[in-house]
Amino acid sequence: MKVAIIQFPGSNCDWDAEHSVQNVIGLPAGRVWHKDPLPEGVEAVIVPGGFSFGDYLRCGAIARFSPIMSDLQSFADQGGQVLGICNGFQILCESGLLPGALVRNDCMEFRCLNQSLKVEDSNERFNSEALAAQLTLPIAHGEGNYRADTEVLTDLEANNQVLLRYAPNPNGSINDIAGIRNQAGNVYGMMPHPERAVESHHPCLDGLPVLHAFLQPLLQTSPVQLSA
């Protein structure tokens, strides 16, 4: 498997993520249980959506203590590609792999809809030319309201770390932020679900360029080696 999809208790978009990478994009993908080590040879990791550990306490707050998270940390430290989608984004924020936090939608309700998004010129992989100026992707979350303190926010904006912005804003996210990356450019997180917009029966195919942008380095770089 080249792309590992981490399965926590309560993950529920793990199958979707695996299906989109394996059957639609065509890269070997597999699910990895949160108590197991990250397999050798994995070149990218997706932390999928769902309600890990029921989202009790805070979304992603318990998942960060799962055994696999130390492997994920070292994988990311060595430049491994990591994408957190929805609950996966929340987990990456809780575990410190990405800055900021996600709190309850300002409307206080769950929102499931096809969301218009503005693509930011973030880096050579993720920009409005490679993707499109505007995308539509499904969102489905109750806690997608991105928050960060002024310092973090200033840094994010100054370093072009914002990937996607809501247009219009469905949840009260600060600066309309829907997705970000880390400064090094190997850890990505977003509330929208690109894996739900990749097949002809989906509302659109706008998830494909997003997943392609994330998975692009896989064909170019050698596998990242895990430390013992």
């Binding site: 208790p9 309560g10 529920n12 978009c13 199958w15 979707d16 299906h19 989109s20 249980w33 108590k35 959506g49 769902g50 309600f51 550990f53 029921g54 989202d55 009790y56 309700e109 769950f110 929102r111 499931c112 809809l113 499904p138 489905a140 109750g142 679900h193 894996e195 739900r196 990749v198 097949e199 002809s200 029966h201 989906h202 509302p203």
Partner: protein
């Protein structure tokens, strides 16, 4: 009947060693003659735990004692043995019915009510309703692939109703979203008759290989019995018998009878059970602990397996201390299952549950004989013949009297309604589009994750929700629709139930789907009242006759009686849900028109009946009139035409006429795409000679389709061949206006976006937090 049994020893909990008085029997919802029957079966006095067990197993919820005879009227198999959709597991045999969908796959589906709990505690009541029906589906070995709900509330003018509505929707959203099963919306009606007694019917469908179908039978003497899932607490005590009583002002004090749900726990249980069931030969039998919890699951599995069963309550995981046998046996704590495992393979089961961090406790064994024996602290606390609990419940044939209002409805004359002038058409249309029953339900389903599992193909809001069965790796689509217009059932129960059936099936046909089978949820008042029983009986007859006519069997469902509150019973509400199959992506059809320049064809003729319509409700606040006629042959021809023409690739959009009639149907078809309008011309007022009846009457067997101009002649010819009236009445355009003229005179020329805005904002406006 068993007449053995010496008296049982005293219960370890002294408070259970009480004399069984007539008052105690009555408190358990048992009639004196029912208690006599229990004495006859046992040949001794039951102890309190045993009385509790009888009371839940013989409640209407578990035993269908008032409806079992009527339910036998439903066809449970297909007459045509060559048709697709053969029944693999029949209604009543297992936790849910299963139908064949081809290529070795089957679909398990069922609807179930959680009305009474939702009336008392809407969030938990609705949430656990979803949990219960999902367990019924994965117990069969199926991976759940969709949810829908059929909901009924009082008027949204009432703040109590708003509270119930908000609570129910957020309970469903909370539970279903966490499980990650797409919720395709469903049908929602608002009517004063549901004030104080909302209806919450939840449906789940799942997919499985034929060879994966699991049985709920305890077989193989010596096989271990396992309890899996979280510990048992005192919540939901006696919920099944609670659901078999009328709601009263004091019902709020029954809150302990409402269960508390934990969707995360259910998700773990779902995954662990499917993983366990994928190990060949490991699971002998499995049953969820739903209504009547441990009681129902043990005696039903034993009864189905023609076996005895013995369990030890000291081994049951408990989350409260000091629980006695009565409490443990009657608890309806959620997210628990009973599993009978092949002896010697216990470790394989335990490993799966250890992985998912769930309890798997060996609590008993399958035994010879037919008795259900329960021990606690080394003492036998219940010893009952299992089959007597499941099969010997009393069955009643209640007296039925036709309510007086039915005769009035039959004799009703439309002349009592003032005629509609053309200048009032737009106002009447807006009145209908903003009635919460007809208005957009987006406020509801944007709170439901309908896209998870990557299968959502037609989102909620069209005639049927459609999901691709991607997870099975097959290129087939499952369509789901629910229907039941209570107004028609109130005015004419037989015909009203048939309308629920044909409208549901028509919704599938408009979506390109062939109906496979029905699951029904019979929501009625107190069956001991002759008038209420008449309504129940007639609805069941009507539904059964329609099922037989279309050769669409009933594969399961639920009965919820005693839906009464304050001023009387709810209207009869036999909710009909159907699963249909679409086997090619090109055939998936929506109700919304996407393009201008399409021909609009009215199928089935000009509407000519106004009785029972929503127009009478929104314009005159009346629930009266003669229910529209149902012609099952005409309906079948229409549906064959729709499916046939969709399969020929000739139909771009299709929407059936239902609540609100022709003009609402036409308007709704224009709401999907920006800038689309339509210009329609109707030749005359039709046989009724009335504008209100033509535009807003709810005559059956009618639909509007949009077709490309070059296909129009072929469609009209095909309609002629099937004997369906087809009238090319106009075209879609890019004017953004809805224009209709009747006999050359314009009756409406309205901006579509204004109509859409009114339709979309109606429910949100009611639900704005002041």
């Amino acid at each position: 009947m068993e007449t053995t049994a010496a008296p049982l020893p005293p219960n370890p909990d002294p408070c259970l060693n009480v004399e069984i008085t007539p008052e105690l029997v009555a408190q358990h919802g048992l009639l004196p003659e029912e208690y006599e029957r229990i004495l006859g079966i046992l040949g001794r006095t039951p102890n309190l735990t045993e009385l509790g067990i009888f009371s839940v197993m013989w409640s209407e919820h578990c035993a269908y004692k008032n409806t079992r005879k009527l339910l036998k009227l439903f066809p449970t198999e297909k007459k045509d043995k060559d048709a697709i959709g053969q029944v693999l597991v029949k209604a009543g045999d297992e936790n849910a019915g299963v139908i064949d969908v081809g290529e070795g796959w089957g679909v398990a589906f069922k609807i179930e009510s959680h009305n009474h709990p939702s009336a008392i505690e809407p969030f938990e009541g609705a949430a656990t309703g979803v949990g219960g029906i999902v367990r019924d589906i994965f117990t069969m070995g199926a991976r759940p692939v969709l949810l829908t709900n059929s909901l009924r509330f009082g008027s949204l003018e009432s703040s109590q109703v708003k509270r119930l509505f908000r609570g129910v929707v957020s309970g469903i959203s909370h539970y279903g979203n966490c499980l990650g099963i797409p919720n395709m919306g469903g049908d929602v009606y608002f009517d004063d008759c549901y004030e104080g007694n909302p209806l919450v019917n939840a449906l789940c469908a799942g997919i499985l290989r034929h060879e994966e179908i699991q049985k709920g039978a305890a077989t193989g003497v010596g096989n271990p019995v396992y309890y899996v899932g979280p510990g048992t607490g005192r919540d939901g005590l006696g919920g099944a018998s609670f659901a078999s009583r009328e709601l009263t002002e004091e019902s709020a004090e029954d809150r302990p009878a409402v269960q508390k749900g934990d969707p995360f726990m259910e998700k773990l249980l779902l995954e662990a059970c499917l993983e366990m069931m994928s190990i060949p030969g490991l699971v002998v039998g499995i049953q969820d602990m739903g209504a009547a919890g441990l009681t129902c699951s043990t005696c039903e599995t034993a009864s189905r397996g023609d076996s005895g069963i013995e369990i030890d309550l000291d081994l049951v995981p408990q989350r409260e201390t000091g629980m006695n046998s009565y409490e443990i046996m009657l608890s309806e704590s959620q997210e628990r299952m009973l599993v009978i495992v092949a002896k010697g393979r216990e470790r394989e089961l335990e490993e799966v549950f250890e992985k998912w961090d769930l309890h798997a406790a060996h609590i008993g064994e399958v035994k010879e004989g037919n008795r259900m024996v329960v021990r606690q602290k080394g003492v036998v606390v219940a010893d009952l013949p299992a089959k007597s609990l499941t099969d010997e419940a009393p069955i009643y044939d209640q007296p039925a009297t036709e309510p007086a209002h039915l005769a009035m409805a039959r004799e009703w004359k439309v002349d009592s309604i003032p005629e509609l002038g053309q200048e009032a058409v737009e106002g009447a249309l807006l009145g209908l589009l903003t009635h919460p029953t007809i208005a957009s339900k987006r406020w509801i389903w944007k709170q439901y994750d309908h896209m998870v599992m990557s299968g959502c193909t037609v989102e909620p809001g069209s005639d049927a929700g459609v999901v691709k069965l991607s997870i099975a790796g097959i290129n087939k689509y499952l369509a789901i629709a629910n229907d039941c217009n209570n107004r028609f059932c109130y005015l004419d129960p037989y015909t009203g139930a048939q309308i629920a059936f044909v409208e549901c099936m028509r919704n599938l046909a408009c979506s390109g789907a062939r109906a496979l089978a029905v699951t029904d949820n019979l929501n009625f008042g107190n069956p001991n009242k002759p008038e209420a029983y008449h309504m129940l009986k007639e609805c069941v007859k009507g539904l059964a006759d329609a099922c037989a006519h279309f050769d669409v069997p009933v594969v399961g469902g639920n009965v919820s009686l005693y839906n009464e509150h304050g001023e009387g019973a709810i209207d009869p509400t036999p909710v009909v849900s159907m699963v249909g199959l679409i086997d090619h992506p090109d055939r998936v059809t929506r109700s919304g028109v996407k393009d201008s320049g399409l021909d609009l064809i009215l199928l089935g003729g000009l509407p000519d009946e106004l009785g029972g319509s929503y127009y009478l409700q929104s314009a005159f606040n009346k629930k009266e009139g003669t229910c529209p006629k149902v012609d099952l042959d005409a309906e079948m021809n229409l549906q064959n035409l729709l499916i046939g023409q969709i399969e020929e690739g000739r139909i771009c959009a299709a929407h059936d006429l239902s609540e609100g009639g022709l003009l609402v149907c036409l308007a709704e078809m224009l709401f999907d795409a920006h800038g689309i309008g339509a210009s329609v011309s109707l030749p005359d007022l039709g046989s009724s000679g009335r504008l209100d009846t033509l535009l807003f009457g709810e005559s059956q067997a009618r639909a509007i389709i949009a077709v490309k101009p070059e296909k129009c002649d072929a469609v009209i010819q095909a309609a002629k061949n099937l004997g369906v009236s087809a009238h090319a009445m106009g075209k879609t355009d890019d004017s953004s206006q809805l224009k209709v003229e009747v006999a050359g005179t314009s009756v409406i020329n309205s901006d579509v976006s204004g109509l859409k805005n009114a339709w979309e904002s109606a429910i949100p406006k009611h639900m704005e937090i002041a």
